[in-house]
């Protein structure tokens, strides 16, 4: 039994399933949490899930383009975090302790 476990090699499918679960956890987090900062962290989780599947498939097909895509996703994620946290700061500075449900001025 131990030898079987030791000899087993995780295939690409394992990584893709892990990425799918990670993405779903991130999506649930965005839906249930009301703190804008935690919602942002959940978006990072989803981006990481996509990165993981990119790298797994890039390795599987020996195509470095997938890793380049991950590089660009990281750049965009960094820019997105900077802008998003700037928006959150400027909102929370005006109205401390607000959560996402309270920001409903634009509601029709």
């Amino acid at each position: 039994m131990t030898a079987v476990v030791l000899a087993a090699v995780p295939t690409t499918t394992y990584y893709l399933v892990l990425a799918a679960i990670l993405f779903a956890i991130g999506a649930v987090g965005v839906m249930v949490r009301r703190n804008p900062l935690v919602m942002f962290m959940c978006i990072e989780l989803m981006l990481n899930a996509v990165n993981l599947s990119f790298v797994a498939l890039a390795t599987r097909f020996a195509d470095i383009d997938g890793q380049t895509a991950v590089f660009f996703v990281m750049v965009v994620a960094a820019a997105e975090v900077v802008v998003g946290l700037g928006i959150i700061i400027s909102i929370l500075r005006r109205r401390p302790g607000v959560n996402a449900d309270d920001l409903a001025e634009l509601k029709g």
Partner: protein, 179 residues
């Protein structure tokens, strides 16, 4: 051996991810996020994407999470949130169902697509030392315009954020207003 690494790193990823969405204190959520990011970096090493593993640690765990923690401290929102209050009582069960649906759909697609993975033959034996060179060649030959545009994106993001978070003071305070 690879399987053990995979299982341990996956446990890190999943425990951290669940921690992000169930911890009440935003600081704890950010630290759980670090655990997830490290787990993903371990997966990158196992997949022989060494450069991306290093960038993952430096940029995500180093810069982005520190930025999160910095904002949490700056705004003083590091008190525990009361998760028992639910403004929409049906929201959490619905979110759980939708999450299971998302995971189920993606996994179903993966299972159906397994044949494509199998038909592609055996994965090529990659020499780990060449990863950085191969990535650099791909980035600076095939994707050099996209690479240059990311610099524009970063400049715009930084300038926009400085403008966005500026405190509007009286005109004499001018230069000191920006953060």
């Amino acid at each position: 051996m690879e399987m053990i690494v995979f299982v341990l790193a996956s446990a890190m990823v999943l425990v951290g991810a669940v921690g992000v969405i169930v911890r009440r204190n935003p600081v704890h959520a950010a630290l759980s996020l670090v655990l997830t990011l490290f787990g993903v970096a371990v997966h990158f090493v196992a997949l022989e994407a060494h450069f991306l593993a290093a960038v993952q640690i430096i940029v995500y765990a180093g810069a982005i999470v520190v930025l999160f923690l910095f904002v949490i401290m700056l705004l003083g929102v590091d008190k525990a949130e009361d998760l028992s209050i639910e403004p929409f009582p049906i929201q959490r069960p619905l979110a759980g169902i939708v999450g299971l649906g998302i995971a189920g759909l993606i996994i179903a697609a993966i299972v159906r697509g397994r044949d494509a993975l199998r038909e592609a033959g055996e994965p090529l034996a990659s020499d780990g030392d060449q990863n950085v060179q191969a990535l650099a060649r791909n980035l600076f030959e095939d994707h050099v315009f996209a690479f240059e545009f990311t610099s524009v994106l970063l400049i715009v993001a930084v300038a926009g954020t400085v403008l966005l978070t500026r405190k509007v003071k009286k005109p004499t305070a001018g230069g000191k207003a920006a953060e």
